[in-house]
């Protein structure tokens, strides 16, 4: 190759990189302004006392120390972990059950798939409102139905012991997206696997455990991780139903989830430094839980192409 051609090739490559960066520029700017800078500034704010009006005052790790003494933090973390620990398994089991039914429904699957997905399109604020109305202790629909079977329903929206179970039941109404992901995974399982396992004498349960579950385990894992992260950041429905101006009727400690408390600290009490410290603790909790899930998944999740064919 002549030096001249080499030079022109280098020039072309440089021009190529320049156009690439022109296309990337929206993200580069956005990342700098709305991700990188906020991360750094939030880390700094977490070490300060800041109320938006006065300049931030550096206080070292005082906010973090205070976190450990704030009884509401302990309450919010406890509520959030308990809610997530109960909600995610319930969510996964219900969506798996619905997906298995749809997988066997033949031509009517499309119709039911639509029905199950529709609640996902309801604004979460409206879901929170529905929760207050349907789960109302005196005249809500849920307790009326329970009454038909002779069960006296609890005061879902006011009894602290029943607030979380009620919110979990309501959240099961919006499983639609997970159902569709699992259904797609089920329909991707190669038919040959069922046929050959049948020849080997496997019955329904054996097939489910040895064929179906391993083949859909990546989808299951995806749903578990995504829903855990979402569960830890629960806000809209619980905030609509239990918090906000004028709400003095309910004892709402049972629904005080972490992000709700963070939001109150930041935007209602204007404790921006304290709320920033809270945000970092949340980040650490999410990272820790996701890491544990990833480690456990190495043993349990089967990815195609892993094993020799």
């Amino acid at each position: 190759m002549t030096p001249e051609r080499q030079r022109s090739r280098r020039r072309a490559r440089r021009r190529n990189a320049a156009s690439a960066f022109l296309f990337l520029s929206p993200w580069l700017i956005g990342f700098g302004v709305f991700t990188a800078w906020p991360i750094l500034y939030s880390a700094y704010l977490s070490l300060t006392d800041y109320d938006v009006i006065n300049d931030p005052r550096f206080v070292g790790f005082e906010n973090y120390a205070q976190l450990f003494e704030d009884p509401k933090i302990a309450l919010a973390i406890g509520n959030t972990l308990l809610f997530t620990a109960l909600q995610v398994p319930a969510y996964v089991i219900v969506s798996l059950m619905l997906a298995l039914l749809l997988d066997r429904a033949g031509r009517s699957a499309g119709f039911f798939r639509t029905i199950f997905f529709l609640p996902k399109m309801t604004p979460p604020v409206a879901v929170g409102i529905l929760f207050l109305l349907l789960f109302n202790g005196q005249n809500g629909l849920i307790n009326t139905v329970l009454g038909w079977f002779g069960v006296a329903g609890p005061a879902w929206t006011t009894d602290p012991a029943w607030v979380k179970p009620g919110l979990i039941l309501m959240s099961l109404w919006t499983v639609g997206a997970s159902v569709i992901i699992l259904l797609a995974a089920l329909q991707d399982v190669p038919t040959e696997l069922y046929e050959s396992s049948k020849l080997d004498g496997a019955g329904f349960w054996r097939q489910s455990i040895s064929v179906t579950l391993p083949m859909i385990s990546p989808a299951l894992f995806f749903i578990i991780v995504v829903n855990t992260i979402a569960g830890l950041q629960t806000f809209d429905e619980a905030y609509t139903a239990f918090f906000g101006s004028g709400n003095t009727t309910y004892s709402n400690d049972a629904a005080l989830f972490y992000v709700i408390y963070l939001f109150q600290q930041a935007f209602e009490f204007l404790h921006m430094g304290y709320a920033s410290a809270m945000a970092w603790i949340l980040f650490a909790i999410i990272m820790a839980i996701t890491a544990v899930q990833l480690i456990v998944s190495r043993r349990l999740v089967y990815y195609e192409g892993e094993a020799p064919k």
């Binding site: 190529n16 990189a17 960066f21 990337l24 399109m121 309801t122 979460p124 207050l132 038919t191 930041a266």
Partner: protein
């Protein structure tokens, strides 16, 4: 020119359409399988699922019962919105006294029309800007080869993991410093810079486009922008539709940002407005739940319409995105 077979094309020769000719032959050959083709494929896969008729009947029965359970809250909501105040909680399917009064009252009590308009403005701006900017960035990552591409894309993926709470306060301070708190701007303008999830989704799709096509267009003298805007984007229609529909849903229902940035009732979006109605007519001691119910119906209907228009894209998008990464 080698023909690009559409995914899932049948291999029996009599079913292949005539090979298109002309300069854009490859373009015509790329298409998303249509509904009939998808059904044919899933039917073939479902052959083993055809079991005894009793099992099938049980499955359908279970689905019907669950379907009723899932559909009932909607029916309850809509029917309650046509009931007078005293009957909202009577849990009857068909209102004993049918009335349109709630709709009139809610329209008088709350600037619902204005809230709908605000939501519409924010949603359209947010969805259009995020789709175009994410597509640009995705194109930058999928078409070009340059040093540091892998590392930069790793940053995009990493930024998906960051909880919103970490950036929420500094982002508020940025909009506050720019004087946009109290306006609709912070609810959509961040979308001008793309969003990691959509960049990922669109990049995955763009990597599947035939490279030969773009090389050929380059030789014919097309500019980089033409390549992206006139050739790549039209081919990405299914993925762009998914992005649009997802963002429309996310923005239409977004409560937290509206709580943070909107102060005056005249700038409220629908979720923020609904929340203020709950505060005023629910908790505020007035207990006018019929107003809240009716406003909820009005807030939900546009989403249902979006769902029925974009149903296929939504469902395909949900079942393919993020899983095979």
């Amino acid at each position: 020119m080698s023909r690009v077979l559409p995914p899932g094309a049948p291999d029996r020769p009599y079913e292949i359409e005539p090979v298109p000719t002309g300069p854009l032959a490859t373009l015509d050959a790329i298409r998303v399988p249509d509904r009939r083709e998808l059904r044919r494929r899933s039917d073939a896969g479902a052959a083993h699922r055809r079991r005894k008729p009793i099992v099938r009947a049980l499955v359908i029965a279970a689905l019907v019962i669950l379907g009723v359970v899932f559909a009932y809250p909607f029916v309850w909501l809509v029917s309650a919105s046509f009931k007078p105040r005293g009957e909202v909680f009577d849990n009857k399917l068909i209102p004993e006294t049918f009335t349109l009064e709630n709709y009139v009252t809610v329209w008088q009590e709350a600037p619902l029309g204005l809230w709908l308009l605000n939501t519409l403005i924010v949603t359209v701006l947010a969805a259009v800007t995020v789709t175009i900017s994410s597509a640009m960035v995705a194109w930058g990552f999928s078409y070009f080869r340059f040093r540091g591409r892998g590392a930069l894309f790793g940053l995009v993926l990493a930024s998906m993991m960051l909880p919103g709470a970490v950036t929420m306060i500094p982002t508020f301070l940025i909009w506050n410093a720019l004087g946009f708190v109290g306006t609709l701007v912070p609810l959509w303008a961040g979308n001008l810079f793309g969003s990691a999830f959509y960049i990922f989704l669109l990049r995955q799709f763009m990597l599947g486009l035939p490279r030969d096509l773009f090389e050929a267009a380059r030789v014919d003298g097309a500019s980089q922008w033409t390549l992206f805007w006139r050739i790549a984007l039209p081919l990405c229609k299914p993925a762009l539709a998914v992005t649009l529909v997802f963002e429309v849903q996310a923005v239409w229902t977004d409560l937290m940002r509206a709580l943070i940035y909107l102060r005056d009732s005249s700038t409220f979006t629908i979720p923020r407005g609904l929340k203020s109605l709950v505060d005023a007519f629910g908790f505020g001691g007035e207990w006018h739940w019929e107003i809240i119910v009716t406003a909820s119906v009005i807030a939900t209907i546009p989403m249902i319409i979006v769902f029925f228009i974009g149903q296929r894209q939504i469902i395909q998008g949900v079942s393919t995105s993020g899983l095979k990464g």
